[in-house]
């Protein structure tokens, strides 16, 4: 839990600051000094002119600017009247837009939290599977066919151990005679699921078998084995940080929601645990 608590603390500090700041700077229509007055300032007009220029790649004429101002006055009048009538309530688009804006705020905050290296280290260990390098094996092999006799296997094995040339079935095959250091999942995709398991505990350089593949029976010579390892944090710092943020932003959004929801007494039927 520690991993969550520390960033959460930073998060709430930043969160508090942002919410206070928004409270100060955001235009608060509901608290206009004179609710019956509508004032369009020079700077509002300038903003309208800029928006026009961005779309049409030229400045508006005076007539056009006047039309823009009139349109925004009309919008303001209608919005205020609509609010008086309560038309903004129960509108699913407005509601989802508002709740979404709150999510954006949380998201923006989550990406600004910088975790301590030890938090990332813990995250790395908890998700070791994702960052581990694959186990790799290098080997050579001889394919003896689907069901060779014990005598055939014995003969081929002795020959190989005596360093004599042995061919697969005396005919061509597309199966590679050897593979350089290759991830076990790739080896299994060539020879069939589970083939690489046959290399566990083998002695390097010694021909052994039989080992079963998706095609039949093989004799194999392990050349080298490179175990899976977890790289140090410094090698994959950016990747871990990105994943940590992704996971964290979900946790933080939920924590943020729970903190806000705590301010309310919520009365609702509970369907969990009920039979369908």
């Amino acid at each position: 839990m520690r991993i969550v608590i520390e960033p959460l603390f930073h998060f709430f500090l930043i969160g508090a600051a942002i919410f206070i700041w928004f409270h100060i700077v955001s235009p608060n229509d509901e608290l206009i000094a004179d609710p019956e007055a509508i004032a369009i300032s020079e700077s509002d007009a300038a903003r309208l002119a800029e928006q026009f220029a961005a779309r049409w790649k030229r400045r508006p004429s005076n007539a056009e600017l006047q039309a823009l101002v009139d349109a925004s006055i009309r919008e303001e009048v209608l919005v205020r009247e609509a609010r008086k009538l309560g038309l903004d309530r129960g509108d699913s688009v407005i509601r989802s837009r508002l709740s979404q804006k709150m999510d954006f705020l949380t998201e923006a905050m989550a990406t600004s939290v910088v975790p301590a290296d030890k938090d990332l280290e813990v995250f790395l260990q908890q998700n070791a599977d994702r960052y581990a390098t694959p186990k790799k094996i290098a080997f050579t092999q001889v394919f003896l066919g689907e069901k060779p006799s014990d005598a055939d296997i014995e003969r081929a094995l002795s020959a190989l151990r005596a360093e004599q040339e042995v061919s697969d079935l005396d005919r061509a095959t597309l199966l590679p005679a050897s593979m350089p250091l290759t991830a076990t999942r790739v080896i299994d995709s060539v020879f069939g699921t589970g083939f690489s398991d046959g290399f566990v505990n083998l002695e390097e350089g010694r021909w052994v078998g039989p080992i079963q593949s998706g095609y039949g029976v093989h004799l194999v010579q392990l050349l080298k084995i490179e175990p899976s390892r977890i790289p140090p944090l410094s090698d994959i710092y950016d990747e871990v940080l990105r994943d940590w943020r992704r996971v964290m932003s979900e946790d933080l959004a939920q924590a943020q929601y729970e903190a806000l929801a705590d301010n309310y007494e919520i009365i609702a039927p509970d369907f969990t645990g009920q039979a369908k």
Binding site: S96, L174, A177, S213, R242
Partner: protein, 640 residues
């Protein structure tokens, strides 16, 4: 030495007398690999194993995919391709049986990034009345959402999208550039040279009047080059549906960034004859010197099999080929706004296009349809599934469920493609020396690729003048193949004698899949009368079957138990290796040869739906099929 030979072939050149001192004599080459060097990795300048990938996949960033409820974005698509388990848009856990080695992510560029903004109800979208209507439909879910999605696609194909929305999600708009940056950076995050290659790409979605002229584009490059441009679109005034506009973009991309790009088309079967023209192009142009040169330059590859039908051959065009009738979609164009007529088919199928290419080469000196073969899913679910027993459908609406078979892909007054006809296909295998963007891209350029309908069938195909039966005995097929011949996708070296070409062919079944029925060589040629011909040869088959009086090898049989969706490898064989020489060779005729390897019959995906969900299948549904691999061709051109 060997590397040099290879690279010359890669350039499409053939070693000629000027290089005589650089080319080993045959005796010298033969001795090249006979002794095993101490290091087992020495002497490997040719690809050892095929790298498996998907050239065509959509995420929720694509207009149609997102509108139909795909909420998975590139990160999830990449993680899935690399073998991680993900939760699909319909909430189902899903994982590939075997990870892919590489992938090209190809979101539609038109209105790229609009769909996630619609899903989220961004103010820019809601400000437009149509945008608001679609958002409300999407939020309502179910049938309403489906209607909204169809309305979006209809407005797209009829080019009646609201101007404001079009402007906000087209080149020039911040949102468009931002989405492209997301796509590029996601690919970069997941690109892991040596282990997994993540290509930066896109789909250029030209579909004038419902005629499918789509092209996918893949870049050889990383973000530094890819971010210098934004991809092209087709909706006017921001883009154009004429492929010439795409070629111009590709030219500019290479000029401006120093990068490299290729394009490849798919689903000629939904173009109503416009995919492979010989006289006029859909856009009112002529198939002239300029057209054939540009097409040859930019399109060295073709996506021959995918969810929306298999496009190798059609029974109408190849009446003597009993395997041509495979997963064909031949009702109409993409939105069935025009029905198909037989005369359109020749402009739609890969085999016919390869033949037409010979004719155009005779006329212009350049073959515009000299392409390698590939398969892709074209899934719109962010999930590159092409296996019958793990098929997540074309779009989110047909992810696994008891009723998905009943959802038609499209149905209108003119015709219908029922849901059970979706094809769980396909993948592309690439013979590349390493798993990197550069090596795989270069293999596409030299056409050393092959297509499968999903299974990982191993396929080698070499053409030369002196392969013989002894070559079948060799342990190292690739050594012999590359030394004495050229690999799939190449031109035959000039014939020094007067014999017929010979081919070294080997096919290996999927290690966890079905046995092989047979391997065939398909030959197409331009005869002395100027007519295009084709012939299918059975060259190797299982179970010691004997040809009947018509020269046909009898069918291999069928072990599928439709109750349990299972089969047994008691028929067929694991591996087929042969040397085949053309018995009908005419040294004066332009020709191509490619290989088709067929599996024994196995269950189609609908049988797994029946087994797992108890899904009802239509009475006439096709329950079993013979999955297959298509090699890229090898071309023979007569000496001057």
């Amino acid at each position: 030495m060997f590397r040099m030979l290879l690279s010359l072939t890669a350039l499409g050149l053939t070693p000629v007398s000027a290089f005589a001192d650089a080319v080993p004599s045959e005796e010298a080459a033969e001795g090249l690999f006979s002794e095993q060097p101490y290091s087992p990795y020495a002497n490997r300048s040719f690809p050892e194993r095929p790298l498996w990938g998907d050239t065509h996949l959509h995420t929720g960033l694509s207009l149609d995919a997102g509108a139909f409820g795909n909420t998975l974005l590139p990160d999830e698509a990449w993680r899935f391709a690399k073998g991680e388990q993900v939760i699909s848009s319909t909430g189902q856990p899903v994982r590939l049986a075997r990870p892919l080695d590489w992938m090209v992510l190809t979101d539609h560029t038109d209105l790229m990034g609009f769909a996630p903004d619609l899903q989220a109800g961004k103010p820019g979208v809601l400000a437009d009345p149509k945008g608001l209507e679609w958002y409300k439909g999407y939020k309502a879910g179910g049938e309403e959402a489906g209607k909204a999605a169809f309305d979006i696609i209809t407005n797209f194909s009829q080019m009646t999208l609201p101007e404001v929305l079009l402007e906000s999600y087209s080149p020039g708009a911040d949102a468009f550039a931002f989405t492209w940056e997301n796509i590029v950076l996601a690919a970069e995050r997941h690109n892991d040279p040596g282990n997994f290659t993540a290509f930066i790409g896109f789909e250029w979605t030209s579909v004038p009047k419902g005629f499918n002229l789509h092209r996918n584009v893949m870049l050889r490059d990383g973000p530094i080059r890819a971010l210098q441009m934004v991809p092209p679109v087709t909706q006017p005034p921001y883009g154009d549906t004429d492929p010439k506009a795409l070629y111009a973009w590709l030219e500019e991309y290479q000029q401006k960034t120093g990068g490299r790009a290729v394009a490849f088309a798919h689903n000629g079967n939904l173009s109503n004859g416009w995919m492979f023209p010989t006289e006029d192009t859909y856009h009112g142009g002529k198939v002239d010197e300029e057209y054939v040169a540009a097409r040859a330059k930019w399109e060295p590859h073709y996506e021959v099999t995918q969810i929306k039908g298999d496009g190798e051959a059609h029974p109408f065009l190849s009446p003597d080929d009993e395997f041509a009738d495979y997963e064909n979609w031949d009702v109409g164009n993409l939105d069935i706004s025009e029905l198909k007529t037989d005369d359109m088919l020749a402009g739609e199928y890969a085999r016919e296009a390869l033949k037409r290419g010979l004719m155009l080469e005779e006329k212009f000196g350049v073959n515009p349809y000299k392409f390698g073969m590939g398969g892709a899913t074209d899934s719109h679910t962010s999930l590159a599934t092409a296996e019958e027993d793990n098929f997540f459908g074309k779009s989110v609406s047909v992810e696994p469920s008891a009723t998905r078979i009943k959802h038609p892909f499209i149905a209108n007054d003119l015709g219908e493609i029922p849901g059970d006809l979706l094809v769980a296909s396909g993948y592309t295998a690439v013979w590349a020396t390493e798993n990197t963007r550069a090596a795989i891209f270069d293999a596409f350029k030299r056409r050393e690729t092959y297509a499968t309908t999903g299974p990982r069938i191993g396929l080698r195909f070499f053409g030369g003048w002196d392969f013989n039966d002894a070559d079948v005995e060799t342990r190292f097929i690739a050594n012999v193949g590359y030394t004495k011949g050229v690999p799939m996708g190449s031109d035959m070296r000039p014939n020094e004698g007067d014999g017929a070409p010979s081919f070294l062919i080997a096919a290996l079944r999927d290690p966890v899949g079905a046995n092989l029925d047979r391997v065939q060589v398909i030959k197409g040629w331009l005869d002395s009368e100027g007519a295009l011909q084709e012939k299918v040869y059975d060259v190797a088959w299982s179970d010691d079957r004997v040809a009947d009086q018509n020269g046909k090898i009898p069918a291999v049989g069928n072990t599928v138990d439709t109750e349990t969706a299972s089969w047994t490898n008691t028929i067929g064989t694991a591996e087929l290796v042969t040397v085949w020489s053309d018995p009908d060779f005419d040294p004066n005729a332009r020709a191509f040869y490619y290989v088709r390897a067929l599996e024994i019959p196995t269950p189609r995906w609908i049988l797994y739906d029946k087994l797992r969900f108890g899904a009802e299948l239509p009475e006439d549904a096709v329950l079993t099929h013979q999955e297959r691999a298509y090699s890229s061709p090898i071309w023979y051109t007569p000496a001057e």
